[in-house]
Amino acid sequence: MREIRAALWAVSAFGVAYLVAGALRLPTLVYDPVAHATRFTANPPLLSIRYYGDLLWACGAGVCAAALASRSRGSRPVSALTGAALSLVALDVAFYLSRLFARV
């Protein structure tokens, strides 16, 4: 059942990294669709797209967490890991919905 634990750790890490990278405006890869330029910065120009970079951060964190979890001999109950992973996803969803309803 290592695969299931690895998948749950990957979802947890993805949720944390995606939220932290976006909400704290961490330096990330941004693409400027007008200048056709890609750069690594925390303060992108107005039209730049930081979605690609945030997604890369989150995917990287998820893959690393899955690799570590599949090698470890952790014995946490699967139900606790599932609860933690889905709570982190719910936190992300609540954060982005709160931003949506605050602006609309």
């Binding site: 993805f14 007008v34 931003r99």
Partner: protein, 158 residues
């Protein structure tokens, strides 16, 4: 001013829509199979079958979406929606975050579902069902928001 993939934006949008419907249906089937498995019904074969179809369609869908994004940003969002429908812009921002989370959930649920032994232990089967059900919910939400924003101003139309 030329934007990346703008020339093929309409084709990409159609592909994005077609693969999007495929993603919605395969992810829903995976979730139904995962819930059936958690309820001790024989659904291992469906779980394995949709365990590659669902993540493949969601990843392909995400790649088409990422390719369309620069054109949306410049020709739809900046040129039109920010003035005429700022609510749609915020809704689309929310959709892109939901899609990212759905991608992680669907891929994780598929990999975990393929690893489930037969008969599946109850806790593990419930875990896969929870991951898959949440992933399917987010994919449905992203699809509905995407259709709404596209109905307002499709990419590839001035």
């Amino acid at each position: 001013m030329k934007v990346l993939f703008e020339g093929g934006a309409r084709t990409l949008l159609i592909l994005h829509a077609v693969v999007g419907f495929t993603a919605v249906f395969t992810v829903t089937h995976h979730a139904v199979s995962a819930f059936a498995c958690a309820m001790r019904r024989p659904a291992q074969r469906q779980l394995k079958r949709f365990g590659w179809m669902a993540p493949a369609s969601v990843v392909l869908q995400a790649l088409f979406g990422l390719a369309l994004y620069p054109t949306y940003r410049v020709r739809v969002r900046l040129a039109d929606l920010e003035r005429t429908a700022p609510g749609a812009v915020q809704l689309f921002d929310c959709k892109e975050h939901l899609s990212a989370l759905a991608l992680a959930l669907v891929v994780a649920a598929a990999l975990a579902g393929r690893a489930l032994p037969s008969p599946a232990p109850a806790a593990e089967a419930r875990s896969v069902a929870a991951l898959s059900g949440c992933g399917a919910t987010l994919v449905w939400a992203a699809a509905v928001i995407g259709l709404y924003v596209t109905a307002r101003h499709p990419v590839g139309i001035p």
